[in-house]
């Protein structure tokens, strides 16, 4: 595949791997967090960490949109989906996330009209085709997917489609990163920054990380060479005593982001005072809801939803996994009570979740050399 295989080139990977080994300070242990679940997926799928020395440790961060959805929101979604007038649309991964009483997939088998879509525009098309039903779209994701939800809602408004509604769970990446950096139980050396989020918000919002916390950030693409090069660039900053935001993903990410996308998000959404994150608790100004101009399309206001906060199952340590405090396999229920077939926590559901990635791809003994 042209324009893709180039970024999966094993020869270049080997060469970069040798450069990493050469720049690593012998005996020093490095902890680098990849913020985005997409990077976690790439690392496991291609075996990127096989090309790193054992003292360069990759720690998985909170950037998996499915993983951060708390159980109470799944319960709310199921309550809406069960309404007879509703066609409930959502992305595939979300179907398997357990609420306090089952998943959307189970609600579907129980008679709820739940349909998997690949884009919010698919949901809008369903609304157009079913004018006598309410079509609700379960919007999730960071700044990456918020613009496409925003543009879909703008289009619904422009076309005068009156039966399309949004159950909004969009979140923003900076508040949880700040919360993470404030947490005392994590010592990190640098961040592989979220590439897709940055195509929208640009690199500037991450400048507080080197400025206030003294950690390098390298915004990275999602192919294995991208991630490997970004790790190298972080190590290079550390070796040279630099600390700044660098952009490895220049082929896609402009430093100032995408102003048109930001404008659409600004028009359709506003910040919630606070939003609950799975395992991380309430973080202020970290979630989006529909702005006053679009409030009539807000499913949360249209239907009565329980809106209850449901505590995570006691055994589940998703919060600590999302914060990178523990490795997936260090969770008490990992791989035994909690598996991709019967997940207890969200991190075991999405292919971008650290637990699912480790379970599906990384579950075997590796041999890596220390430098």
């Amino acid at each position: 595949m042209k324009y893709v295989d180039e970024f999966r080139n094993a020869g270049l990977g080997k060469a970069l791997s040798a450069q990493v080994v050469a720049i690593v300070e012998p005996g020093r242990h490095y902890k680098i967090m990849e913020v985005c679940g997409g990077h976690t997926h790439t690392i496991y799928k291609y075996g990127v960490d096989d090309l790193l020395p054992a003292n360069v440790e990759l720690v998985h961060g909170p950037g998996c949109p499915v993983c951060v959805i708390p159980m109470g929101r799944v319960d709310d979604a199921i309550a809406v989906a069960r309404r007879p007038e509703v066609i409930f649309t959502c992305f595939g991964d979300m179907l398997r996330v357990p609420g306090s009483a089952g998943t959307l997939l189970e609600a579907k088998a129980g008679g709820a009209d739940v349909r998997m879509v690949y884009s919010p525009l698919d949901a809008l098309r369903i609304a157009r085709q079913n004018p006598d039903r309410d079509v609700v779209f379960f919007a999730i994701g960071f700044e990456t997917t918020a613009p496409s939800t925003a543009l879909t809602l703008m289009r619904a408004r422009a076309e005068g489609i009156a039966n399309f509604f949004c159950f909004c769970n969009h979140v923003t990446i900076v508040p949880p990163l700040r919360a993470l950096l404030e947490s005392p139980d994590l010592r990190l050396d640098g961040f592989v920054g979220p590439g897709h989020v940055s195509t929208v918000v640009g690199a500037r919002p991450f400048e507080f990380i080197p400025k206030d916390y003294g950690k390098p950030v390298v915004i990275s693409g999602f192919e294995p060479l991208d991630v490997l090069q970004s790790v190298y660039m972080i190590l290079q900053q550390l070796a040279e005593g630099r600390c700044e935001v660098e952009n490895q993903y220049t082929r896609v990410v402009p430093y100032d982001g995408n102003p048109k996308a930001l404008q659409a998000v600004g028009e359709v959404f506003e910040l919630r005072p606070h939003f609950e994150w799975r395992g991380l608790g309430f973080i202020s100004q970290s979630g989006l809801r529909l702005s006053p101009a679009y409030r009539d399309l807000d499913a949360e206001l249209r239907y009565p939803v329980p809106g209850l906060r449901v505590a995570d199952p006691k055994a589940c340590q998703c919060g600590e996994v999302l914060k990178g405090v523990i490795k997936p396999w260090e969770c008490k229920v990992f791989g035994t009570a909690c598996t991709p077939e019967r997940p207890i926590g969200t991190c075991m559901v999405s292919s971008e979740g650290a637990c699912a990635a480790y379970y599906n791809y990384g579950r075997f003994a590796r041999e890596r050399e220390l430098v």
């Binding site: 499915v66 971008e352 599906n360």
Partner: protein, 366 residues
């Protein structure tokens, strides 16, 4: 798992991995409250339905072997019996139709246990309102495909259900075959050092269906690979004889699922070299966009063969001589550790597990 030296997994991680494999090796149980679409997707949920509910209920030894067809001996004559139901949507797609699948699917389930297909039974469930011309064409297709595969349709059944209770038509075929005396195929016969072959490019059927459903607004010139595999099996039996350990038809769940079933049945490991797997560029492109791994995509005319190392070169050249199998390839090797698992050497130079899918392959979010 072998003990590891410097910089390897720490002992706690090793212990966790050990516990997980112990849990996975236990017989699987079926304790779902209701059937979901995942039970039909060929992954772990399907396995729980088959191994947790059906096999324990019927308890026949032929069924417990979990082969594509059951074997039985009647007065020293080795026979194989299999059945399959076809519920594809759309009924027609680039490269084939439900009728072609219904014949080839069952013929192939016989072929991969080493049985020459003899006869088919055909059952049709038709939906009220089905266009008669469409039915007529499918029946002609079934007749033509059966002739090409060298089987006769000798009995059948028809049922009609009310509109809305079936998707146009469902087809069920049952096949009887005669076991070839040269075939000593068994999923438990794999040995470390054996080679893994595929009979051609993978992922075409599933991708063609996904695109034909029109849900993705993607176009591509990909056709289903539906075909009879008996000529392929015959070529392999000729070339490799007793060196041919086992064959599997890589349908629902794709090559990845087949390899997992074999690794588990034989308590061996499989190592696949990702760069050696033949994947047509159009399939690779469509799967890349959808975030699906072609190794899990269904085929309807590709088999996975495990052959002893001494026969692998002959088997591969015999395969490549069969029309349509020119791109057959050796994609990996049977290993000892980690038992029951399939590992992949990625084209990038890393290594990872290739497990059974949990449910339907789902396109990713972003």
């Amino acid at each position: 798992m072998t003990a590891l030296g410097h910089g390897a997994l720490d002992a706690r991680e090793q212990a966790v991995l050990g516990r997980i494999e112990t849990a996975r090796a236990r017989p699987i149980r079926f304790h779902d409250g209701q059937i979901t679409m995942a039970h039909g997707a060929g992954g772990k949920a399907t396995r729980s339905l088959i191994e947790g509910l059906l096999v324990p209920a019927f308890g026949s030894s032929a069924l417990s072997a979990l082969a594509d067809a059951g074997s039985l001996a009647v007065e020293n004559l080795g026979l194989a019996l299999t059945t399959d139901t076809f519920v594809v949507k759309p009924l027609r797609f680039p490269g084939g139709s439900i009728g072609e699948l219904a014949v080839n699917g069952t013929v192939n389930d016989l072929a991969v246990v080493g049985a020459r297909p003899l006869a088919l039974a055909l059952a049709l469930v038709l939906e009220e309102g089905l266009d008669a011309d469409l039915l007529r064409e499918e029946i002609e297709t079934i007749a033509r495909t059966a002739r090409a595969a060298g089987v006769e349709i000798i009995t059948g059944d028809t049922k009609v259900v009310e509109r809305g209770h079936a998707d146009g038509m469902y087809v069920c075929t049952t096949g009887l075959g005669r076991l070839d005396p040269r075939a000593t195929l068994s999923p438990s016969g794999l040995r470390p050092g054996d080679r893994i072959l595929v009979s051609g490019p993978i992922g075409e059927h599933g991708t063609a269906i996904m695109l034909a459903r029109g849900e993705f607004e993607l176009d591509g010139e990909i056709e289903s690979d539906t075909r009879s595999l008996w000529p392929v099996v015959e070529a392999l039996l000729d070339a490799a004889g007793p060196g041919l350990r086992c064959l599997r038809d890589a349908t629902r769940g794709g090559v990845a699922s087949v390899l997992n079933e074999l690794a588990r049945a034989s308590a061996v490991a499989m190592l696949v070299r990702e760069s050696a797997v033949p994947i047509p560029p159009a399939v690779a492109g469509a799967c890349e966009i959808l975030g699906i791994d072609p190794m899990y995509v269904a085929n309807e005319g590709k088999l996975v063969a495990v052959v002893g190392p001494e026969s692998s070169a002959d088997a591969l050249s015999a395969l490549r001589a069969v029309p349509g199998c020119e791109a057959a390839a050796e994609i990996g090797e049977v290993k000892t550790d980690p038992s029951g698992m399939v590992l992949v050497e990625t084209a990038f130079g890393g290594k990872r597990v290739m497990d059974l899918l949990v449910g339907d392959p789902l396109p990713r979010i972003c």
